[in-house]
């Protein structure tokens, strides 16, 4: 485990191993398959983008990978440990080493930005230090440093409900930089951002994860961005693995099948030149 103050430099990335994942939900008039026999193996420090249309199962897959949702079938290993075979305390220990950022940033509206960001460091704080941090935030410098690259440093003492949707999302992602995590699972991190900010933020997250050696798994619906920033893309279509390969080897027909429509006409050309 990282020491109490050493949250920013974990030892190495955590590996992820998902085998034959299946998930179904009962809906009115039967069952709907959310995920069917999905395999995903990610090495420590690797960077992977999960792409697919809305409703393809990206969010469920990330939740399952984070141990925040138990699949109906299949196995999850995090850092080599069979997650659901661990006792509850062991599961919570593994959860301390991962950072899951839901698409809607989990920021209480009445809280201040500084407190909401520091909450991501709670796993490495004791209860009493966490409690005192609620009243007197304990590491202002680290919060400032985490907000700075997202252009949010000036809003550190603002209340969350004063922020716009895009600003909330950037604050939510800044939490990753203070969390004591060895794997980042980011669900649609650009959903509320405009294209320019989206591009910057994605580049920043990839660079920061690489610098720290943290494993990075991002779900994205923008195929073009995923192709520019990731060397490995996992396509999900209607709950099944459509492809798992490098961006250059994905053919136009595969994209077409993934979204049932071409993602971007210029996309293939721009990556072909890279």
């Amino acid at each position: 485990m990282p020491g109490p103050t050493e949250a920013a430099a974990p030892a190495a990335g955590l590996s992820l191993d998902l085998r034959a994942i299946g998930l179904a939900r009962s809906v009115r008039g039967g069952r709907r398959e959310i995920l069917q026999s999905v395999d995903l193996i990610v090495a420590p420090g690797e960077q992977v983008a999960i792409v697919g249309a809305s409703g393809a199962g990206k969010t469920s897959l990330l939740q399952i990978a984070a141990g925040a949702l138990q699949a109906d079938s299949g196995a999850l290993r995090l850092g080599g440990e069979s997650f659901w075979q661990l006792p509850p305390s062991g599961r919570q220990r593994v959860r301390r080493a991962l950072f899951l950022a839901p698409q809607v940033p989990p920021l209480p509206p009445r809280q201040r930005v500084v407190t909401a960001v520091l909450a991501a460091r709670l796993p490495s704080l004791g209860f009493w230090r966490g409690l005192s941090s609620l009243l007197f935030p304990l590491d202002l410098g680290a919060v400032q440093a985490a907000l700075e690259p997202f252009g949010m440093a000036g809003r550190i003492f603002d209340r969350v409900d004063r922020l716009s949707g895009g600003e909330r999302q950037r604050v939510g992602l800044a939490r990753a930089l203070v969390a004591p995590a060895r794997i980042w699972l980011l669900d649609e991190p650009l959903a509320a951002l405009d294209p320019v900010h989206g591009e910057q933020v994605l580049g920043l997250l990839c660079a920061e994860a690489r610098r720290r050696g943290v494993t990075l798994i991002v779900s994205l619906h923008q195929a073009e961005l995923a192709q520019r920033h990731f060397s490995r893309l996992v396509g999900l279509r209607a709950g099944r693995l459509a492809f798992d390969q490098g961006p250059d080897s994905i053919r136009e027909a595969q994209w077409t099948a993934l979204y049932d429509v071409p993602p971007h006409h210029g996309a293939a050309a721009s990556t072909g030149a890279a």
Partner: protein, 290 residues
Amino acid sequence: MIPAARPEQPATGVPLRATGMPLHDPAARQRWASLVLGAVLLWPLLAATEFSPWKIFEPRSLHASARFLAGFFPPATEAGFLGNVALGAWQTIAIATSGTVLALFLAVPLALCATANLSISSLGGRMAPLPFAVRQGLRGAMVALRTVPELVWALLLVRVVGLGPTAGVLAIGLTYGGMLGKVYAEILESVDSHAARTLLANGSGRLQAFAHGLLPEAAPELTSYTVYRWECAIRSSVVLGFVGAGGLGQEMDNAVKMLAGGEVMTMLIVFVALVAGADGLSAWLRRVMQ
């Protein structure tokens, strides 16, 4: 009826009525059924309680109440009596406050353990059997605590600890502990738990997730409910005074027995002032916490 869509209407979305068929609200039938069912169920209850409010307005009752109420004026204002009332009011506030604090010591741990939002085992999907059983057991304990009215607790405790405010404090603490615990647990389950669940999923402890995820959302509601319960405790400690648990209630019991309407009136006025004060405090606290 609304005429068919005219061309000058803005073209937003589909026309209101695609066909000439009149629209029927699919929920209407169910709502009518609920209303009728409610009335059918309520009627036997009213019959069973012999509820006949018109009796108040019969000449005989009106005459009796007029005579009774006339005895309330003017309110008693002798210095010695007012001193007693002030002392009684102070004791009432003290009983209510200590009782509520005692209730908090019961309610906060019970609510934190009982609320499903802080369950780590339910992160994967369903709550594990043991935590589920513990939560149900705690809910049962809270039901038992609050089912016994504070008046009954006070009657029992007066036998144990003797006449005086101690019995009142313990009685309020026990009953209100059960009430506060139940409502706290429900408030914590009704606020947006997204932040707390995410903290748990990222490895935080339950108390950390509570303090950083749930409390910021729930604090105003928890505070306002606690102050409201404190106000109820003030009222309730007056009732407890009638069975010998001290405070304004004991004074009022004496005055009623001696048919001193003026003294009862004075105490009622003090009483309204106390409750109004609690209301003002609650409003102020909620404004501050916004």
